[in-house]
């Protein structure tokens, strides 16, 4: 089934364009911050911009477009939003723990120690 952009009113088109551009801009900003921030633990914050409202904006635009031009609620993009919101913390947590582990093995000075475990020996991961 094909939906056409000519079927929707102008106010809806402006709303959809706003959400699209806001989402894409946040995704771009996430990538820029990912390039510019100096350390790994600061960089990990930047991609959450594109996974929170970057995804949210574009998926909202998509829901609005298909619902308004189709004349009924098409909301399966919500699934992508929920999926991304739930999976991003998992990947980032795993990556951050891997990074912490690697930095601790190398005795990096700025990394907080895990107490009671000698450095270089804390390979226990639940």
């Amino acid at each position: 089934m094909t939906y056409s952009a000519a079927d929707i009113p102008v106010w809806a088109a402006i709303l959809i364009a706003f959400f699209l551009l806001a989402g894409a801009f946040l995704a771009l900003l996430g990538a820029v911050g990912f390039l510019r921030l100096p350390t790994f633990y600061e960089r990990i914050h930047a991609p959450t911009l594109s996974t929170s409202w970057g995804t949210g904006g574009i998926m909202t635009a998509s829901i609005l477009f298909f619902s308004i031009s189709g004349g009924r609620l098409v909301a399966h993009e919500l699934l992508i939003g929920i999926f991304i919101t739930v999976t991003t913390p998992v990947t980032f947590m795993l990556l951050a723990r891997a990074a912490l582990h690697r930095d601790r093995v190398e005795n990096h000075p700025d990394i907080p120690r895990r107490d009671g475990v000698t450095p270089g020996d804390d390979t226990t991961v639940n």
Binding site: G33, H45, A46, L49, H76, T88, R97, L100, P112
Partner: protein, 158 residues
């Protein structure tokens, strides 16, 4: 019949969102959801105890608001750099939460809010290591998480 009502409903809603709402899909999706929840019951995970489930929408609203606000804040930091006196740093937080589901929800909240990332949970000391991008005062930040999210989660799961 329904060992996990929330899971069953969520699976049915997902099925209907993917396939479109018709009576046939309602029946088929319902059957699949019930069988899947029986499969889940056969795995015997620890059942989460939701005490005050009606507080979940309130938590959801607070989190959505905070995500929008911190999106703007992080976007500003990326464009303009941090204000003087602000720094990025690790903080260690002592939590009262013990329930695994509540901890998972807290981890999702903290990580999906830009500007703070949940790094590592130590179950023996029940402390968590969090990295904050724009930190002024350690104490204020810890109190924010404790009062805003943890208190509510403690009320919901207790």
């Amino acid at each position: 019949m329904f060992p996990y009502p929330l899971l069953t409903i969520a699976l049915l809603v997902m099925w209907l969102l993917l396939n479109g709402f018709t009576f046939g899909h309602l029946l088929l999706g319902g059957t699949v959801a019930v069988f899947a929840s029986w499969g889940m019951a056969a795995l015997r995970p620890d059942k989460p105890r939701l005490r005050k489930w009606y507080l979940l929408p309130k938590l959801f609203g607070i989190v959505m608001l905070d995500i929008i606000r911190s999106n703007l804040a992080v976007a500003w930091i990326i464009l303009r750099g941090r204000a003087p006196g602000h720094r990025s740093s690790f903080i260690i937080l002592q939590l009262q939460l013990r329930d695994p589901t509540a901890l998972a929800i807290l981890a999702v909240i903290i990580t999906s809010t830009p500007g703070s990332a949940w790094l590592e949970y130590d179950s023996r000391r029940s402390s968590v290591l969090i990295h904050v991008l724009d930190l002024v005062d350690d104490e204020a930040w810890a109190n924010l998480i404790k009062n805003r999210y943890e208190k509510l989660l403690l009320e919901i799961f207790s």
